[in-house]
Amino acid sequence: MAGILFSLGLTGLLVRRNLIYVLMSLEVMLNAAGLAFVVAGARWHQADGQVMFLFILAMAAAEVSVGLAMVLAIYHRFKSLDVDELSEMRG
């Protein structure tokens, strides 16, 4: 199931052209990785998996805050273009 979620996030990352969708797909992928850690921790009765999930959580929070601030900056710089074409204006 973690593999399915991760591949879904990866396809979303590759297919969608909107920056917000890309960030959401990144969220899904990080979530899937954390799910894999927690499942492994539950399988072998170790607490390390949940510790790793906490680290992934902190990293996802930091990444999303910076990424959304960058989305805002990009949108305010290229205000004349459509929101759905955000990723094409970085060229």
């Binding site: 510790v51 959580l57 929070a61 930091a62 910076v66």
Partner: protein, 197 residues
Amino acid sequence: MELAFYVAGAVAVLSTTLMLTRLQIVHALLYLIVSLLGVAVVFFLLGASFVAALEIIVYAGAIMVLFVFVVMMLNLGAPEAEMEKRWLTPGIWVSPVVLASILIIEVLYLVRGSAASLEAGGRVEPKQVGIALFGPYLIGVELASMLLLAGLVGAYHLGYRKADKREIRHDADTHERRAAIGGDLVLAGADRSARTP
């Protein structure tokens, strides 16, 4: 027990697939929230209830609020009104509500059922997690705090430059305006800034 796990997993996968195929960002956000709730139920079923609570609080709470704020800040405009009319039609919010209610029914069933059934999975108590977190993983905690600080400063910097630019744009930067505000000092400043390029 097994059935509950598979139902929650199916809800998560299905809502993620629906998230990727939405055209409106807000619809995709709804499905993403349902997907995160489904993964939280899976964590709860795996015996990691602390992590499930953190998933709901941090992901479905804080990060989703950030996304919703950004979508609100980006999507201001005239076409919003007709878009909002279309959003109020029931066909859009029915399927996230159905998926989320499946999860709610499942959690109620699990909570009402005996707690002994939850012990089937490898249950790891939050106490063990805390001991491991502040024992061998202490340097990781410090690194995570540094990372969060870097994220905070970076987000503030990216947002601050935009606000600074807007302020300069709104200020009437002409000689008449400066003469109206102040005296020779201001004019001298204006002269120097005009000379430097």
